[in-house]
């Protein structure tokens, strides 16, 4: 593979590990664009005369492909190294955007689905896991902080892309009236995709050029691996392969933890706009529709900060304890919401923000939890397999909240009553996740790799 080969990127002794987070961020900030599909979606709908369900397809396929490619290609990503992975991610993600540009220009929607969702989704999966596992190897003393930085970048990608995409679409001829897209020329959409593709390719190139893997035996200066103690009992000095990891109960307990923690967060995220307006519609101080985007932005901020803050805290208090907080604390927040409903707007905003910060924290801390349990040997590949929990949660969370809200609307209910049952279901799911977290014990020695095998 030459330039892309793992052997070409072994860091020289004077390499600074602080060059690795920007390399990781250049990929995560780019691929995080996928969450800004909500901005492009209405334009595609109007410009190509599609229904809402049709226009959601590129995003949905993208998320499914993210989970699938991370799970299927994860082991190869580990073997070939992060430069190969970042370059492949760049080619797939940006190539997908260029294909989508062609689709918009020729008004062939299937090309947008195939490009943005199919090819781009593969780029998302490879680009998501590789920088994370590389950072874990560079920061064995602070793996939570390291993964928090990268995964915060994935959330941050949407923050950059949303206003940027809107500005581009408007600049190329999209016209909106009363907050809704009225005119969206296909060429405006095509140009937007094209510029995204080229700009992200340039942006991600930094990661491809800058990424390095630590030399065998490298550790941070002055760092001594901590001795075993009760709190650190879950931190293994042994290595487990991806193939063996999925045979352990620990993997599946963590799968449940991630799935239900994400389900609980995504349920609120999905319905945040209608939720705040419905909750306070019948109160003396209703939340006007124009204020709802402010609430969504506040939740995004909590989600992003939760990724870096809680994940860093997990380095100090341990992974099991931080998930106790995410799951137990999250359930408590949901209980407050269900109990006090619309009695206090401040309490509502604070509770939802805390829930979203735990949602982000859950995403960001899980790679460090995997590293604790299974070592660094194939942590990226194991992470890839675990992300299938995200794919399931991405369907489950919105399904629960939407189905209940629809049924209650049909029963002529309104206000908080549309959501209270969903809130109690989320408490139940978080309680199951809490139990699953309690069941996690150190991995049995029969799953450990022989020392000679476990050199990445």
């Amino acid at each position: 593979m030459g330039f892309l080969d793992r052997s070409r990127i072994i860091a020289p002794p004077d390499w600074s590990r602080w060059l690795v987070p920007p390399a990781a961020l250049s990929v995560h900030l780019a691929i995080g664009q996928v969450y800004a599909w909500t901005v492009i979606k209405p334009a595609v709908e109007v410009g190509l005369h599609l229904t809402g369900t049709q226009s959601a397809l590129p995003f949905q396929l993208g998320i499914v492909m993210l989970g699938l490619s991370a799970a299927v290609i994860g082991t190869r990503v580990e073997r070939n190294g992060p430069r190969w992975a970042m370059f492949t991610s760049l080619c797939c993600f940006c190539g997908g955007l260029l294909l989508a540009a062609l689709g918009a220009m020729t008004q062939q929607f299937w090309l947008i689905v195939l490009g943005y969702g199919g090819l781009g989704g593969i780029g998302l999966g490879i680009g998501y896991i590789s920088p994370v596992s590389t950072l874990i190897k560079w920061f064995p003393d602070r793996p939570g902080m390291a993964t928090g930085i990268a995964i915060m970048g994935f959330g941050g990608g949407a923050l950059i892309a949303s206003p940027w995409s809107t500005a581009m679409l408007t600049g190329f001829g999209m016209i909106s009236t009363a907050g809704k897209v009225a005119v969206a020329p296909p060429n405006a959409i095509a140009l937007t995709f094209l510029i995204h593709g080229v700009a992200y390719a340039v942006f991600m190139t930094l990661g491809v050029l800058l990424v390095r893997v630590p030399a065998p035996g490298w550790t941070p200066a002055g760092w001594i691996p901590p001795a075993d103690s009760a709190r650190r009992a879950l931190i293994s000095a042994h290595q487990v392969s991806a193939r063996n990891a999925i045979r352990t109960p620990q993997f599946w307990c963590l799968w449940i933890v991630l799935c239900f923690n994400v389900t609980a967060g995504i349920g609120i995220l999905e319905k945040s706009k209608p939720m705040i307006t419905e909750f306070f519609r019948t109160t003396p101080t209703p939340v006007v529709a124009a204020a709802a985007p402010g609430f969504v932005a506040l939740l995004s901020l909590a989600n992003m900060l939760g990724r870096i803050v809680w994940s860093s805290v997990s380095d100090a208090i341990g992974r099991k304890n931080i998930y106790r907080l995410y799951l137990g604390g999250g359930a408590a927040m949901y209980l407050l919401l269900a109990t006090f409903t619309n009695q206090s707007r401040g309490l509502f905003v604070v509770c939802t923000m805390v829930i979203l910060s735990f949602y982000g924290g859950g995403f960001a801390t899980v790679p460090a939890y995997l590293k604790d349990l299974f070592g660094t040997y194939q942590v990226g590949a194991i992470h890839g397999r675990l992300l299938t929990a995200w794919s399931i949660a991405g369907v489950l969370g919105p399904l629960i909240v939407n189905a209940i809200a629809d049924a209650r609307t049909a029963a002529h209910l309104e206000g908080p009553a549309l959501f209270t049952l969903s809130l109690y279901i989320m408490i139940g799911l978080l309680a199951i996740g809490f139990v699953a977290n309690e069941l996690i014990r150190p991995v049995a020695s029969k799953f450990h790799e022989p020392p000679s095998e476990a050199t990445p």
């Binding site: 004077d14 602080w18 390399a23 950059i160 930094l206 800058l210 490298w218 002055g222 124009a290 905003v349």
Partner: protein
């Protein structure tokens, strides 16, 4: 910034020569990120209007 070196070896080099690269690479990702956060905070203001 922590100097990095293989276990068992002394500090074989310094990151001082990498400082411009570190600054540039953090600016490369930090500036777009700051733009995104600025726009986000701008939107948060809508909730309190």
């Amino acid at each position: 910034m922590t100097a990095s070196h293989p276990t068992g070896a002394g500090p074989t080099g310094t990151t001082a020569t990498r400082t411009p690269l570190i600054v540039l690479s953090w600016l490369w990702v930090g500036l777009p990120f700051a733009y995104g956060v600025y726009k986000l905070i701008d939107n948060v203001g809508l909730l309190f209007k």
